[in-house]
Every structure is written in C-alpha cells, then in structure tokens.
C-alpha cells in the first residue's frame, strides 16, 4: 500500500469547485480499456498470421467453428472472473462441468422425453449445488479456496467416475432437439456462442451496475476494509462460488449438447485453461480488478491459439506449454504494469506543496 503524497488532489481552500463537472474517465477504466484493446490486437494479429498461411482460416465455416469452440470456455471464464475478483480461485470447475455433462446424459437416458429446457435447468441447479458445496466448505473452514477446490476437483471427478462406472452416453441417447442446440446457428452465429454472449453481457452488466457486483470488487481489493464497510464478505463469497458452479453447470449442459458423446472424463484439465483465459484477459490474480469482457476475450484468444496451432500444423503438444507460458506472461506483465503505475503515481510529485 502506498502511503505517499501524490499531489494528485488539488486543494482549494476558499473556492469550492465550480459545480458538478462532467465525470472524467477513471484511470482504472482507461487501463482496462488498454488491456482489452491489446487483446483484440493480439487476436487480430494471430488471425492475420494464420490466414496468411491458410486463407480458409477466415472462411465462414472456420469462424463459425471458432465461435462454437470458444463458447464453453467463455462461459467458464466469466464464472471464474467473478471468483478471482474476490481474491479467490475455483479449480473444481472442470470436474463440475464433467459431472453435469454426464448427469445431463443420464437424465435423458432415464427420462427420454425430457424437454431440453428442463435438462438445462437441472444441469444449472446441479452445478450450483456443487458450487454451494465449495462455498460452504470455504465459509465454514475459513481456508483458502485453492485448497478446498483442489480437493473438490478430485472429489467431484471421483463422483462422476463412480457414477459413470465406465459407461458412455452417445448422441443417439439424447433427443435431436437438444443436440441441435450444440450446432444450430442463428444468422450464421452458433446458438452456443449467443448463449455465451448473453452470459458475458449479463455478468458484465451486473458487475458494473449493481451494488452487490461492486461489492465483489471491494472484497477482492481490500478484504479488511470490506468487512469494516459492512459488506457481508462471507455471504458474497459464498454466492460467488454458487454462481460459478451454476455457470459451470450451464457449460456442462452445453458441452453435452455440443459433443454428444459423454464419458466421465469430460472437461478434465479445463480449469487451467479457464484460469489462463481470465488471467490473460486482465483479471488480476490478486483480486479487485478485471472485467468479464477481458476474460471472455482471453478465452477467445486461447481458443484461437488452439485452432491456429492445428491449422499452422504446429506440433499440438505445444498447446499446453503455450497455455502455461501465457499465464506466466500475463501475471508477470500485470505486475510490471502495476509497479510502473505505482512508480509513476509516486514519482509524480514528492510533497509538491
């Protein structure tokens, strides 16, 4: 915490400011805009390079594939953003997704006539339940979310395995109407991507425009101050984990619709990509700052990297290494920028009185 005089405020002793002026754009907002812009530039550059190698990369089919491919990751990244903003992390989402995806298949097996909206609701509810388990354990034990969710990562996956017992659910077991959800398009845009867009917009709107949304940032920014301000920290963190679980549940149902073939291993290892997407998207791992738009862009970027590696015929084994390198680069870059900003703010004027 810097406790230094910046001279940033101009003290006017005798004449108060002349009426309410037009609010200027805050520094935070400007920094965020910079991050989102640079992500877009990176994305454009990547697409350009890949397209130069192979012009089909920019065909309608290919763009459709990209949008379809990133939808699930975008939804998960939005949920993870909610969690990271409060200075927590949820590593169990991959397992929640797998469990819910399998449960969806089971539901259709058990009750073949189930309309897909019901399945969607059941999946979201089951995901939410998993999130409640996470949130509850964290609230009760007051231990880092990392450890709890690392534990539930295995516990949920174990339940999934146990339940599936080596069985597989196939596309034929699920109703056509449900599977169409997975690759249908509206005006050339996949439904899945539209769902993701709605989730991003809703979460972004909530975080910006609602008191409880702003409180999430407050909690991540300075937990002790949040408590003193009367913010129900425990309740908010609990709710965030429940919401993240529900979003992972939604992603699980969509996963089932998209891939059609389900076994218990669905979504294994996805948590790394999701954390990477959020972090690359500018969500500070220290909490308190970052936006869902950035996280969503991060998810799109990661998916595009995956696709272009395949198109560029680069050894697919590089992909995981790239994910890791991106996480390191993103958090390192954030740190560097933060230090720079701090130095600039401090160096601005030393007791310029």
């Amino acid at each position: 915490m810097s406790r230094t005089d910046t001279g940033a405020s101009e003290r006017v002793a005798d004449h108060p400011p002349s009426g309410p002026g037009r609010p200027r754009r805050g520094l935070t907002e400007r920094l965020l805009a910079v991050r989102e812009l640079s992500l877009l530039i990176a994305l454009a550059a990547l697409i350009l390079v890949t397209t130069m190698r192979n012009d089909r990369f920019l065909s309608a089919q290919s763009i459709k594939d990209l949008l379809l491919g990133c939808a699930i990751l975008v939804i998960l990244a939005v949920g993870q953003t909610l969690v990271i903003v409060t200075r927590n992390v949820d590593l169990s989402i991959g397992s929640i997704l797998g469990l819910v995806a399998f449960a969806t298949g089971e539901l259709f097996l058990a009750a073949p006539g189930t309309p897909w909206p019901v399945a969607l609701l059941v999946g979201v509810a089951l995901g939410g339940l998993c999130g409640v388990v996470n949130g509850g354990l964290i609230a009760v034990a007051k231990v880092p979310a990392l450890v709890i969710t690392l534990g539930t990562l295995y516990a949920f996956r174990g339940i999934d395995y146990y339940w599936a017992a080596g069985r597989q659910i196939n596309a034929a077991d699920m109703p056509r109407s449900f599977l169409r959800l997975g690759n249908q398009t509206v005006l050339g845009v996949p439904v899945l991507f539209l769902v993701a867009l709605v989730v991003v917009a809703a979460a972004g709107f909530y975080l910006r425009s609602y008191r409880s949304g702003r409180e999430l940032y407050a909690i991540g920014s300075e937990p002790a101050a949040a408590r003193l301000s009367g913010i129900p920290v425990g309740r908010r963190v609990f709710a965030v984990f429940a919401a993240n679980g529900a979003l992972a549940g939604l992603a699980g149902v969509l996963y089932a619709a998209r891939f059609g073939t389900l076994d218990a291993a669905a979504g294994a290892g996805l948590e790394l990509q999701v954390v990477a997407a959020a972090v690359v998207g500018g969500v500070a791992i220290f909490g308190g700052s970052g936006s869902v738009y950035g996280a969503a862009l991060g998810a799109v970027l990661l998916t595009t990297i995956g696709s272009s590696l395949a198109v560029l015929r680069i050894d697919p084994f590089w992909q995981q290494a790239v994910v890791g390198a991106l996480i390191l680069a993103a958090i390192g870059l954030d740190r560097l920028l933060a230090l720079r900003t701090a130095a600039r703010l401090r160096g601005g004027s030393a007791h310029g009185a």
Partner: protein, 355 residues
C-alpha cells in the same frame, strides 16, 4: 507483499483484529500440537486394522510394494513441507518430475552421454526449473499459487514437446533393476535408504538450524522476519530451487523404476503431495507443522490407498478418498480451533457475568 495475504480467508486484520486471531491461533496451535501424535496414532491404527481385516496386507512383499510406491511421494513431500511452512506452495512438482523424466529420456536417446552424467544433469536441470518458479515468485513478487499453476501447465506441455510421440524405454536393465531392488536380506526396497537420509537432512534443517527458524518466522509473519534480518526472498528462492532439484531426482527414479520416460509421467501427483503435507499437520497458512507429521502423513496416505486397493475398493472411490482427505485435513483443524475459541469465549463470558 501482496501475495502473502492472497487466498487466505482469515482477515489480515489491522490492529487489534489480529489479537483475536492470536487467540484463535493459539487454540489452533494446541489442537495441532497433538496433530503429529494424532497422525502417527492414525497410522498405527490404520496399519493394525488393515493387517487384521485386509487379506495379504501384512506381508513383506506388500510392504515392499507399498514403500516403493511411496518413494516419489515421500521425496516430493520433503521440500513441499518447507515451502508450505513459509506460506507458499509449489503446484508444479508433478510437471517438473514429468519434464525431468522426458529430458532424461531425450538425453539418453540422443546425446550419447553416460547415464551417470545424465542423472546429474537432470537433477541440476530440475533445479533450474525450480529457479524459474523462484524468480517469478520472489523476484517479481507474484503469488506462488498463480506462478506454479502456470508452470504446472508449461512444464507438462514442454515435457510432451521434448519427447513428442515416443517413450524412451531402453535403459540398461541393471539400472532399472537397481531402482526396484531390495536391501539385501530384507523386503525393504533399497530406494528407501536415500529417502530416509534426505528426510533426516530436511528434518534437521527445518528443526535444528537457523534456516529452519527463519522458515517458521517468515511463514508466520514475513515482515517481522525481515526486521529480524531474515532474507525472506532469497531463502524462498532457494527453497524453490531445492524443490526443483528434488523433482529432478524423482524424475530419475520414476524413469528408472518404470523403465520408461514419457511425457505423462507423474501426472496429477501434486495433489497427493499437497494432501500428504497438509495431512501431516502443516498449516496451509504457513508457519506451522513438522517433518515427522509429514512423514506420518505420507505413510498414512500410502497405507490407506494400498489397503483399500487390496480390499478391492474401486479406483474412483480412491479418487474421492484423496480429495476428501485433503479437504478434511484443512477443514478439521480449523473447525476444531473455531469450536475451541467459541467455547473459550463462552466460558469467559460466563465467568464475567458471574463476577
């Protein structure tokens, strides 16, 4: 130091707030003072129960299998204990083992170096991998959790890059046999001996040297440690280097034991290591725990898995058991401490109103 408070739920609290925490942690401390003993007792109970109820458990051959399976886990738990005591974590250990293993395979395949030299190089390279973690964590001041999640992915990815589509398996049989050989005249694997030696070294460093004192101090309060002349960053850096070097060693052992260098070696082992360390009574917040408890934790975990496996418990149930054990070993001490603190307060209140 932003990273020390990251992901720790209890309020870092200003001023008097910590005084209450002090009270609670004192209770926690009492609960944990006996944690070592509890782990050892649980271990004894587990062994006795398994011997009595699980067929084929109490045999020399089984002991050999059990111990051999535990060698990597035990080795990795040693530096992890020290790291967690300083309030950090290293999630990249399993990936470092995997990368060490493939590096060993690649060198054996294509470099023409002698295997002895390769082994040394792999341990040193492991140290370099750990140093990368260390630089990001102590040099840039980033949270170890985030950094090692990144290197978890990076190193695993690289280990696939290194060997790509092959598994190197033609290591000399004399070497691969040595990795699983028993001590003469006993059904105890010879590999246990270096593990024990290292455990003693780590135990002595942690419990009877100035370095160990500094580790506890910085895990509890790195500011106070800095004011007392402890080089917090430098010590942590070297801990991560040591962790990497031990991973290199485990990589060598793993490769020889399974006679196969593959990109997916030791996948997911980090969870088991962290579980064993926490089960051994090391506090995830840092500053508390001992090596004896961790060794107990490793053995307990091994005995449980082995016995359950022998009792034909489903592998999936074992996954659940590991996850649940991890959660229980962090939730239980805290829940107990909370309960005690609450009882204490109630007693105090009763005392006050009575007077």
């Amino acid at each position: 130091m932003a990273h020390d408070s990251l992901y720790t739920a209890p309020p870092s609290g200003a001023g008097v707030e910590t005084e209450r925490e002090g009270g609670r942690f004192a209770a926690l401390r009492r609960a944990l003072g006996s944690w070592d003993a509890a782990v050892v007792a649980a271990l004894v109970v587990a062994v006795l129960l398994a011997s009595a109820s699980v067929q084929n458990f109490a045999t020399g051959r089984n002991a050999q299998f059990l111990l051999l399976d535990l060698v990597p886990l035990a080795l990795l738990a040693l530096p992890m204990t020290l790291i967690v005591i300083t309030g950090e974590i290293d999630l990249s250990v399993a990936s470092m083992v995997g990368l060490s293993s493939t590096l060993m395979g690649q060198m054996w395949l294509s470099s023409g170096l002698s295997l002895e030299l390769i082994c040394v190089l792999v341990v040193l390279l492991g140290g370099v991998l750990g140093a990368v973690n260390g630089v990001f964590i102590t040099g840039f001041g980033l949270p170890s959790l985030a950094v090692t999640i990144g290197t978890l992915a990076l190193y695993r990815g690289l280990s696939f890059v290194v060997l790509g589509d092959q598994a190197v398996a033609d290591f000399p049989p004399s070497w691969t046999a040595a990795a699983v050989r028993n001590l003469p005249g006993a059904s105890i694997p010879a590999a246990v001996v270096p593990v024990l030696l290292l455990a003693v070294v780590f135990g002595v460093v942690l419990h009877a040297t100035p370095v160990g004192r500094a580790l506890y101090a910085m895990g509890n309060n790195d500011q106070a440690a800095t004011f007392a002349g402890v080089s917090v960053a430098r010590t942590k850096f070297w801990l991560f280097v040591v962790s990497g070097a031990v991973c290199g060693l485990v990589g060598v052992f793993w490769t020889l034991r399974y006679a196969s260098a593959r990109g997916d070696n030791a996948t997911g082992l980090e969870l088991t290591v962290v579980t064993a360390v926490l089960l051994g009574g090391v506090s995830i917040f840092g500053g508390r725990g001992g090596l004896l408890g961790v060794v107990g934790g490793v053995l307990l975990l091994g005995v449980l898995r082995n016995a359950l496996q022998l009792a034909d418990v489903d592998a999936n149930a074992l996954t659940i058991v590991t996850g649940t054990l991890l959660i229980a070993s962090v939730v239980l001490p805290n829940a107990v401490a909370n309960l005690r603190a609450r009882l204490h307060r109630r007693r105090q209140r009763a005392h006050l109103t009575a007077s």
